[in-house]
Structures are given as C-alpha cells and as structure tokens.
C-alpha cells in the first residue's frame, strides 16, 4: 500500500552519523531512569501489587478460593455458636476464620478473588516489595495479608463519561457519594495529586491487627491505623490480641 519512506529524522546525514549524533544528544540530556530503591516508583491505585485482607469482612465463604484459577488461596474455618443475646432468644452460629493464606509463588495476580469477594474483604495494594529468599516464605498467612491493608489506596475517580454507579442510580444512598460527579483533573496533574501512599512501615513494625469479634467489626479506612504499640513480631501480637478478644474456643494451630 504505502511505499518505503525516506528516513524521517536526521535529514541528509548518513545513517552512521545520525546514530552518533543522537547518542551524543542523549549524553547531554538528563537521564530518563530513576534510581529505584532510593526513589520509589509512583504506582497508580489500581496497580496489582499484593493482595490485602480485611479480616473482619471475611465470612469464610470460600468464593475466592473456588474462583482462583490456580487455587493458591487456602481457607480454614470452623463454626462457632454464640449464646443468645436476649433471654430465651436463639443461639446464633457464625463462621470463624482460622486460616486465610495466599501463596504468592502460585498467584497469577489476576484479581478474580478480589472481584468475586461479596464483602470487600480482599483489596489490591500497589506494594510489591515482598520478595523472599525462600519460595516457601511467599505463602502469606492472614496476619501478613492483614498488614497490607493500610497500604490499600482509595479507588481512583472514574472518567466523566462513565455510567453512574448502579448504587447511585438505584437509590441515592447518602452514604455513597457519587463518584463520577467530579470533573477530571487536567492531564498529568492527577497523577501528582493522587493521595500520597501511606508511609510504608518497615516489615517488622507493621501494626499487627488484632482480631475482633464479629459484632464490633468496623470497616476502618485504610490509612488510620498507625503503629500504636512498640514494634512486635506480627505473629505473636496477633496471638495475644486474639487471646484477649476471642471466646476461648480452640483456635487454629496451622497458621502459626
């Protein structure tokens, strides 16, 4: 269809000199790389880095584990009977999550588990620095997965042409602000304006999330948990936390 074109750049210079000229020009310009460990990359909120677990929201429904294309999610739970809250009332049963683990050596980072979770217990976090020297250490148990929660960014505003969210269209619930209403920020500015990623604590001093009984579970905004206690190894902290708040049911032994 189209004929071979004359070279676009460099004009009449012979090809060899063009190459020399371009490299010399590049030499005189600032580099386009960043020094990664010193300058952390700016990752968009949708970036699929690691999967965070908001344990309070998990009902052990197993949907994520079943939908996972490579079966890398392990869930153990048991039923627990709660005594009736009012005299003469019925006893209630609930699922208690014993183990929730994702094997990141198998995970294909497709995000289906997060998509299918009906209770928003799983979230993407852009964090990616969790390489290990031993492949077995890539199996993140629920306390480790919980520690990613503070790094989960809020979802980005949507394009102005996007359809109204189903919730807004259905019943203008006051709790849910219309996300699509705001005008989009001008080009490029949005990336800079994006809320700063929460300060990344060193691995050891990440706040260990204590388990709460279901009644008091509240979906807390991701950024609010600041390490209140002196740094403690996560596993012991979660154990002590659960000892205080949980009913003295035989708890799981596998996840420790």
């Amino acid at each position: 269809m189209s004929e071979p074109r004359t070279p676009r750049s460099g004009g009449a210079l012979p090809g060899l000199l063009k190459g020399l000229a371009t490299t010399a020009r590049t030499l005189a310009r600032p580099t386009h790389t960043t020094e990664y460990p010193d300058a952390p990359p700016h990752l968009p909120p949708r970036s699929r880095g690691v999967i965070a677990l908001l344990e309070e929201n998990c009902t052990s429904c197993m949907l994520c584990a079943r939908e996972c294309p490579d079966w890398c999610i392990y869930i153990d739970s048991h039923k627990e009977t709660l005594p009736a809250t009012t005299p003469g009332g019925r006893e209630r049963q609930r699922n208690v999550l014993d183990r929730f683990a994702i094997d990141f050596s198998l995970c294909m980072y497709c995000g289906i588990c997060i998509e299918v979770c009906p209770f928003d217990a799983l979230h993407w976090s852009p964090e990616f620095e969790y390489s290990e020297l031993d492949i077995r250490d890539l199996l993140h148990e629920k306390d480790r997965l919980g520690q990613w929660m503070p790094t989960v960014p809020p979802p980005p505003a949507l394009d102005e042409h996007s359809a109204e969210p189903a919730e807004v269209a259905a019943a203008n619930k006051p709790a849910r602000p219309a996300r699509a209403a705001g005008a989009p920020p001008p080009a490029r500015a949005a990336r800079a304006e994006r809320p700063e990623r929460p300060e990344r604590p060193a691995r050891a001093e990440r706040p260990a999330r204590a388990e709460r009984p279901e009644g008091t579970a509240r979906p807390e905004p991701p950024a609010d948990s600041v390490p209140a206690e002196p740094p403690t190894p996560p596993s012991t902290a979660s154990e002590s936390g659960s000892a205080e708040t949980k009913s003295p049911e035989p708890t799981s032994g596998e996840d420790q």
Binding site: M1, S2, P4, R5, P7, R8, S9, G10, P14, G15, L16, K18, G19, A21, T22, T23, R25, T26, H32, L43, P44, R46, S47, R48, E67, P69, M108, Y109, C110, G111, I112, E115, W124, P156, A157, L158, D159, E160, H161, S162, A163, E164, G182, A183, P184, P185, P186, A187, R188, A189, A190, R191
Partner: protein
C-alpha cells in the same frame, strides 16, 4: 558432532585429518542469547554456512489449551493473555470476542472504543519491544534503551487503567473490567504524543544506518509462496507483499470505521520480504497504531455517558456450538476455536498463535545463510517463545 548424511568424515576439533572439512551440528538454544527464551534450532553448519536448520519447539509448552478446558470464561482470560506475553491485551480480546459472539452479546460502545484504544497501545508496546531487541541482536545496544523509555510511557497508562503492566486482565465478557480512571484519556493523549515525538531518536539509530542495512537488506527473503505455505502472518507476511490485515479485512471492534475510507487506518506493506522490510513494516506500524490510538481517544471524548460492560449472569454459560475467532495480533493472526457444549467451561478451545507458524518457516529460510545471518533472520521473525509453545 555428527557428519551429515554420512558424506564426509568428521574432523572438526580433532586437530587431525588434513584440510578436509566436515559439517558440524550446532545447537542454537534452548539456552542461547538470540532465542529470547527456550527456542532451539538444530542447525548443521559447514564452517559458518548453514546446511540445514530445524526449529525444535516445546520447551515452554504449558498445555494452555488443556488448561482452558477446566476454567470458566473469566479464568480463561487469565491464561489466554499469557501465551504471547507481549500482546496480552490482544490475546484476551480474542477470547472475549469469541464468547460474546456466541452469546450474541452487544458490547457497549464505550467499551468497544476503549478496547480498540488499548489494543493499539498494546500493539505499539509489542512493536517497540522488537524495535529494541532486533538491533540488539545485530549488535546495536542502544535502541533497546530508547524503546524501553517509550514502553515505560505507555505501560504507565496501561497500568493506571488495568492495574497490570504486562498481563492486563482488563477484558471481561461483555466489555472491560471497570471504567477508565478520571483524566486517563488526557494522560494517554500525552503519552502518545510523547512517544510519537521521541520516535525519531529511535529511528535515527535504525533507519538508514548503513551497517544495519548491510546486515538486513536482501537477507532472509521470504516469498509470498512460502508465506502461504507456512501460514505466516502479521508484519512478516506484509513485508513480503501479502496484503492481509484482519483489522481491515474482517473488521472487529471499531476497526471497521478506523480502516474505512476516511479513517486513519492503513495496512503497511513492503514487497522485498527481507529482514529490512520486516523491520520497516514494524516501525511504520507503530506510527499507524499511534494514529489509531489518537482517533480512539478522540472518539472516547465525544461518546455520551455510558457503561463499559454489561451485567453478566452469575454463572456464564456459552450456548452449544462452535466458533472460530481470529484477531490481528501484533505478531500475526491469533485465533481461538471455541467449542462449547453449553457448560460454563469450553469443551475445547483451540489456540492458533502467530509465532508458531512464523517460526516454522525458518527451516526454509535459514539454509545457505551464515550464522550471523541466522541471527538476523531469527530476530526478524519477531516471535515470542510462549506464543510458539503455548
């Protein structure tokens, strides 16, 4: 070391036997710098001249087709975008387009244009990779750094929309996973402009370089007959004058309009069929794809408010039947033959990948060339090993 067909005695490496020469079997790969992975070429050389060549494939066979059969259509997308890891979006597209056609599903217009945009950006990403790696095989070490700078620019916007840098996982049956972020279209426009503006730098190292032309002009000529016989497709076929591009010939997505009479789309062809013309086709396709991306952006700006996906049933079952869906992937024709028995998984999903056919033709082209030319030809076949072995 063996002698070929028992014609001559082997003397190489023994230090004896006078001046008689013998053929030497040389394994290029499965671990070799020029094979981008684990392709293996078993070549017989007389000195440096290749007597015969045989591509040996399968070192990276992952059984993709069999894995498809035990996964539902969303899970298939996860796998399908992985065989050709440089054209993940186009791979996803073939699966969902096939399923949508069998369901008779209408995809919202914004999704169609957004998909077209992302597919073209993916094509640019793919081509930039080869525009960097091919000169690298010819000994030019710098183009790959310039190409990756542009790739980074585009990957940033791809990641912002889809969350992934290679395996986008952004297609769903019926549209896209979620809507585009606010201000994203502007940033894509900026990225496309930046890439187009800096392409001349990359071109200045490739286009018109006398050494590169000496290495590629007239080397590894593929005739149109060979193209037809081996089912070679994509930029390689078009470089030999085979004017075939599914985007124009069997339009899907919004290509019918883009490649229409007034659209910016045009099919890039060359006639020489040598390594140089294959490189030229790739380079020019980048320009065409950037133009197409601009047209898509224009359209996405003017489209009315609307969804980018349709609500799916809880369990998605494809009605009984079969359908072949082919798309014009960056590397060539990529087809999925979907046979459904009304289950939520396909009964069979045959994958026709571009690189497999494109590499098969090597056995015809390589004999008679030098080892140095072998690398030039191999690189100009623009293959991805995962796409060969599936």
């Amino acid at each position: 070391m063996t002698s070929s067909a028992g014609q001559r005695e082997l003397t190489v490496g023994m230090g004896a036997g006078g001046l008689a020469t013998a053929d030497m079997v040389l394994n290029i790969g499965p671990q070799h710098p020029a094979t981008h992975g684990v392709l293996r070429l078993r070549i017989v050389v007389d000195g440096e001249r290749i007597v015969s060549a045989e591509p040996i494939v399968g070192y990276m066979h992952r059984g993709a087709e069999k894995l498809f059969e035990v996964r539902d259509y969303r899970q298939i997308v996860v796998l399908a975008n992985r065989h050709d890891w440089l054209s993940a979006f186009s791979n996803e597209l073939g699966v969902v387009l096939g399923v949508e056609r069998m369901l008779g599903m209408e995809v919202p217009e914004r999704a169609v244009w957004a998909r077209t945009l992302l597919a073209e950006l993916n094509r640019v990403l793919n081509h930039l990779m080869f525009l960097g790696s091919y000169p690298l095989e010819l000994g030019a070490i710098t183009p790959v750094f310039y190409a990756f700078r542009e790739r980074e620019e585009l990957q940033a916007v791809m990641e912002e929309a889809s969350g992934g840098r290679m395996h986008y996982m952004f297609n769903r049956v019926g549209g896209l996973k979620e809507d585009l972020p606010a201000g994203w279209l502007e940033r894509v426009r900026y990225a496309v402009r930046a890439v187009r503006g800096r392409l001349p730098e990359l071109e200045s190292l490739i286009v018109g370089n006398e050494i590169l032309e000496a290495r590629t002009r007239g080397v590894g000529v593929l005739t149109a007959e060979l193209i037809g016989a081996y089912g070679v497709s994509g930029p390689i076929a078009r470089a030999s004058g085979v004017d075939l591009d599914l985007r124009r010939d069997e339009p899907y997505l919004a290509y019918g309009e883009l490649f229409g009479p007034s659209g910016p789309g045009r099919v890039v062809t060359r006639t020489a069929g040598d390594c140089l013309s294959r490189l030229e086709v790739l380079l020019e396709q980048v320009h065409v794809s950037l133009d197409l991306a601009d047209a898509c952006l224009e359209r996405l700006h003017s489209l009315p408010q609307g969804p980018v996906n349709v609500r799916l049933p809880k369990v998605l079952k494809v009605p009984e039947g079969d359908l072949y869906t082919a798309t014009e992937n960056p590397l060539g024709l990529n087809g999925y033959y979907l046979v459904s028995r009304g289950e939520k998984t396909p009964w069979r999903l045959k994958l026709r990948s571009a690189s497999f056919n494109n590499v098969a033709v090597l056995a015809e082209v390589l004999p008679g060339n030098l080892i140095a030319d072998m690398v030039a030809i191999l690189g100009s076949m623009f293959f991805v090993v995962g796409d060969i072995d599936k």
